[in-house]
Amino acid sequence: MSRMETIAPPRPQVSASARVESGSVKVRARAVSVFYGEKQALFDVSLDMPEKSVSALIGPSGCGKSTFLRSINRMNDTIPGCRVTGEIAIDGDNINDKSVDPVLLRAQVGMVFQKPNPFPKSIFDNVAYGVRLHGLAESKRDLDQIVETSLIKAGLWDEVKDRLSASGMSLSGGQQQRLVIARAIAINPEIILMDEPCSALDPIATAKIEELIDELKTNFCIIIVTHSMAQAARVSQQTAFFHLGKLIEFGPTEQVFTNPRDTRTQDYITGRFG
């Protein structure tokens, strides 16, 4: 693995948290296929992701991890020519049902992107954005409170509490990523999707985000795409390995990493391809 990971400070032991019994199923995918125009990018993916835990999606570049992630908050709807078949259910409810408004779905399923993308607004307004949008605060005080707790939960409060009116863009990359995590959790989603949230960050910022993920899993169902085996091993309880658009293997992280059932998984995690 890259040198970056050996420098990163030690994370909480995987084995301790991996044995936490998976709770009830939060996200259930059944035979999910995704097409971009004629081209099929994802083939018949079925898996169950439990609540209050971290599920990692790993696999070589172009294998469909982001595609799968985007089908959980229906961001794929915004891509022209993209079509999703099969069933994805959150708490048993099919999110692709005609009665589901994708805008309301996205208020329940937060997303953090590869490159930090704070809006060119103040730190406060960034976190307040979704709260105002969905009318979640009853008063200005209420709003202040939500912004503060979100920033505290995202581990950013102490660094920004004296300059909430400064632009979100004035923060460092790692701080920006924690800011957009605060922005996402401010609207109190149930699921947080993260697409390589640390790939633009240095080891120290990465360590902070990983710590944060570890804390967030007590309240949220987190699904994270990562290219770092070490990161998947550190933060996740379940790991799904994708290859060429197919789900090859899905199981407890410890088992996938120490005792993979499929040779392709084995080859990938030992760095033989990808």
Binding site: V103, A107, H134
Partner: protein
């Protein structure tokens, strides 16, 4: 440092010479442009400033050929450019938003874009003739509102074009971020994209205002001009460009002087508008 082989060295000098030549060309071109601009401004200020007096701002144009001021032309220009911008800028912004955020590469959007480009490059006299046909001839009278409409039609495509260009520069990541937080399409545009692009759009609007403030041709067939004091939008209305156009060719030295002063007023007005909006924009950015 290691020494270069002879042929590499020759090549190196040739590349360096070309580089210097190219830079020289660019600097020369920039210099010529700057000198021209300076000459124009110098002429404008030296000739225009001589005629500045209180009368220019307080007295209407004279109908006798001597004396008088530009007060009615100043007010007429303010009214027509003001109304023209207030109609043209929002319309243009909406067209720009449609092209960049809604229509994108659809067939209808391509047609709108094409028509807008034609409108953008159409001679302004043509716009004047068009407005004459629809807003002057049917009512049997030249009018200030017709002038304002012609100016609005000129401003709209400029604003539409710059708005679309600026919006396309806004990173897709902002849109994705806003959508992922559960924003609807109009909320993405109103709450994230437009605020992010505000400075650029404002620049586009100022460009358009500057352009229409100096337009003469579209006003000749619409608001016509008026030497008398009138703020009635349904009657012919004076304006600075038309005053300049009429006075510059007159035999009276007084009136020629007023034409220069009028030109100076337009220039300074547009300049001040620019400066003031830059300053307020910077102040807004600072919070």
């Amino acid at each position: 440092m290691k020494t270069l082989a002879p042929h590499t060295k020759a090549r190196h000098f040739r590349r360096q010479a070309i580089d210097m030549f190219m830079s020289g060309l660019c600097i020369a071109a920039a210099g010529i442009g700057l000198i021209m601009l300076a000459l124009i401004l110098w002429m404008l200020f030296s000739k225009g400033a001589a005629g500045l007096s209180l009368d220019v701002f307080t007295k209407p144009m004279s109908s006798t050929g001597t004396g008088g001021g530009l007060a009615n032309a100043i007010v007429g220009s303010l009214i027509q450019v003001g109304i023209g911008s207030m109609i043209g800028a929002p319309l243009g912004m909406m067209v720009g938003v449609y092209l960049s955020e809604v229509g994108k590469n659809s067939r209808f959007a391509s047609i709108v874009r094409f028509v807008n480009d034609i409108l953008l490059s159409a001679p302004s006299v043509l716009i004047g003739l068009f407005v004459y046909q629809v807003a002057v001839a049917p009512f049997g009278s030249f009018s200030g509102i017709a002038g304002a409409l012609a100016l609005a039609l000129l401003a709209m495509p400029v604003v539409a074009r710059t708005t679309e260009d600026i919006l396309r520069l806004v990173p897709q990541a902002y849109r994705d971020g806003a959508i992922a937080l559960g924003s609807r399409e109009n909320e993405v545009v109103r709450k994230v994209i437009l605020p992010a692009a505000f400075g650029g759009i404002l620049t586009g609007i100022l460009l358009a205002v500057a352009r229409i403030a100096g337009e003469t041709a579209p006003l000749i067939f619409t608001s016509l001009g008026n030497t008398n004091w009138s703020t009635d939008l349904t009657k012919p209305m004076a304006s600075l460009p038309i005053a300049i156009y009429r006075y510059a060719g007159s035999p009276s030295a007084d009136l020629i002087q007023l034409a220069w002063t009028g030109a100076l007023l337009i220039t300074v007005g547009v300049l001040m508008l620019n400066v003031v909006s830059r300053i307020s924009l910077a102040a807004m950015r600072r919070g």
